[in-house]
């Protein structure tokens, strides 16, 4: 077996491990299937997640280690152009197919998305005014969190999710996987658009941004495992970015509005789009590096703002990483984003170990974040000193 094939097999096994691990976190009040064989499997996996917490936390750290190891290896292969487009896409599609069917191990948000749509399709009421707790008889309440909150997102997401909720026919498992498929399709769509943008910008290496994005463990976990709709928002934003570069302004407007209407964060990108349109109008050349840093900077502001309002959530980084992928050829961008992704994913470890988010876990999370920033800075400096740019 060639080295590359071995690498692919190792990556597939790691993805499969993450898929299996996700089921250790199935909520104790949730029965995914009444099949007796499945119930036995689910119970033994839950036993690890809930009653063997140190083992569970260790397993997660191991999976993270391998995911990051493969991520760095694939990025290197893409950088050296030792991996083909076909191989890359084959891996991305296989990983998506595996993780699409995983359980949302690290976040309960997908249940809230499902319920928000259910308020419209089943209870025929306004989710902006009603919350899950208003329907105490609903069986979903037994395994949901944040049942006291009304729908907090923009109108696009609820409008998009209503038809899927109808298709789900109030069958929980079916609706759950439909919502996971939406996230998976958005992930694949984003990866595809990133590659298209890289080609449009005539980047020297168009495979690197694709690998940077689609193999990043944070993107995989937050989009494919947890099914956060941030990936849907970013898919529309990337599409809008592609169309604005192509001077197709109507499509730009439509997709940008769709994106902003999901979670508002991409509203901060408006100046970037306005600047590109202005440059087109003035018939001036676009400095892509400047534009991408501008976009990445504004999305970082959005992350900081959202984090101050509540707290830093790992999935917020999906916003920044989507655009930074196009700057992945910058060494410090790669170092920072990789370490930061690792740092925020490590936020889950104290929870997996203890089963709660109570103090001192917020302090531990803060220290992880601070350490990651310091280490990233140091590593960037050391790397430029040891291997100066040619």
């Amino acid at each position: 077996m060639s080295k590359l094939k071995l690498l692919f097999a190792g990556y597939f096994l790691t993805s499969l491990s993450l898929f299996l691990y996700s089921f250790t976190q199935v909520d104790l009040s949730l029965t995914l299937s009444r099949l007796s064989i499945w119930q036995e499997v689910q119970k033994s996996l839950q036993y690890v997640g809930y009653f063997q917490r140190p083992t569970s936390a260790t397993l997660f750290v191991l999976i993270l280690f391998f995911l990051f190891l493969f991520y760095i290896l694939f990025a290197r292969l893409a950088y050296l152009k030792k991996i083909t487009r076909k191989q890359t896409w084959a891996l991305i599609i296989v990983t998506t197919l595996v993780l699409m069917f995983s359980y949302n191990a690290f976040s309960y948000d997908i249940f809230n998305y499902i319920f928000d749509a259910k308020i419209v399709t089943h209870y025929n009421q306004n989710p902006y005014e009603h919350k899950a707790l208003d329907y105490p008889g609903d069986p979903m309440l037994s395994f949901m969190r944040w049942t006291h909150r009304t729908y907090p997102y923009g109108p696009t997401w609820i409008l998009l999710s209503i038809p899927f909720s109808f298709v789900g026919s109030q069958i929980f498992l079916l609706t759950f996987f439909i919502f996971k498929i939406i996230a998976a399709a958005s992930f694949l769509g984003s990866a595809y658009v990133i590659e298209k943008i890289a080609k449009k910008l005539s980047l020297e290496n168009t495979l690197l941004p694709l690998v940077f994005f689609a193999f990043n463990p944070l993107i995989l976990i937050e989009s494919l495992v947890s099914g956060h709709h941030d990936i849907v928002m970013m898919f529309f934003a990337l599409l809008a970015f592609y169309f604005v570069l192509s001077k197709r302004y109507l499509l730009t407007g439509i997709f940008l509005l769709l994106s902003i209407g999901i979670k508002f964060a991409t509203g901060l990108l408006l100046p970037v789009f306005a600047y590109i349109v202005y440059l087109h109008w003035k018939k001036e050349k676009i400095d892509t590096k400047k534009v991408l840093f501008f976009a990445g900077g504004l999305l970082t502001v959005a992350v900081v703002f959202a984090s101050i309002r509540t707290e830093l959530q790992p999935w917020y980084l999906v916003w920044v990483l989507s655009f930074l992928s196009l700057l992945s050829y910058k060494r410090w961008v790669f170092i920072f984003s990789t370490l930061f992704s690792l740092g925020v994913l490590l936020h889950y470890v104290p929870f997996l170990y203890s089963g709660n988010w109570d103090p001192p876990i917020p302090t531990i999370k803060l220290w992880i974040t601070i350490s990651v920033i310091i280490v990233s800075l140091l590593l960037s400096i050391i790397s430029y000193k040891l291997f100066p740019k040619k």
Binding site: L28, S29, Y128, E129, D134, R145, P155, T310, N356, D358
Partner: protein
């Protein structure tokens, strides 16, 4: 040009729908909406002489949208004091403040307590209240409205989704009542 007109009209239609269907946006944009919600909440409460937990929870978020800080081991004392320090409430040790709500026009603290009435929390000298029952007090001056109520745990269970009532927090909430202290800034 027609294409852009379609885009603009869709945007405006969606925005108008959003403003009307999302109560938090209208509360932020229009002070009269806030006033109307406050008046309606006060009228209902004064008329019925009791408070409904769900109605209060909804009013709090729709009057002035804000941010919750939850800590079941207790909210910082300085934060709690910023709401409880006045001539109405007396210092009381037997409470566990677990939720702080902060918004431009409304700040509140939700706590767990073993007390069964609000009397032990009140300064005995206070007069001039809009309502004063064993479980509810509302006072009003030119600047703000002060609200204090106590409801049974069962009412909290159907209103507040922060706790895991079935498993993790079962012992924490057992035999406890829900105490709320709210300060509402008038427009």
């Amino acid at each position: 040009m027609k294409k852009y007109l379609f885009l603009l009209s869709s945007f405006f239609l969606l925005s108008i729908l959003f403003i009307f269907l999302e109560p938090k946006v209208s509360a932020r944009l229009f002070p009269f909406v806030r006033t109307s919600r406050l008046n309606s909440f006060l009228t209902d409460t004064v008329t019925s002489q009791k408070i409904n937990g769900r109605t209060y929870w909804e009013f709090r978020e729709f009057y002035s949208p804000g941010v919750f800080t939850y800590n079941k081991k207790g909210i910082e004392e300085t934060v709690v004091k910023s709401i409880t320090q006045n001539d109405v409430v007396v210092d009381k040790q037997d409470i566990l403040p677990f939720l702080f709500f902060n918004s431009p026009f409304l700040r509140s603290i939700d706590s767990l307590t073993s007390e069964t009435t609000i009397t032990p929390f009140l300064n005995p000298d206070i007069k001039d209240s809009l309502i004063r029952t064993p479980n509810l007090l509302i006072r009003r001056n030119n600047k703000e409205i002060f609200l204090l109520f106590l409801l049974p745990y069962t009412e909290m269970e159907i209103t507040n989704g922060f706790f895991d009532y079935r498993e993790k927090d079962k012992l924490l909430v057992k035999d406890k009542n829900w105490l709320n202290i709210t300060r509402i800034k008038l427009n």
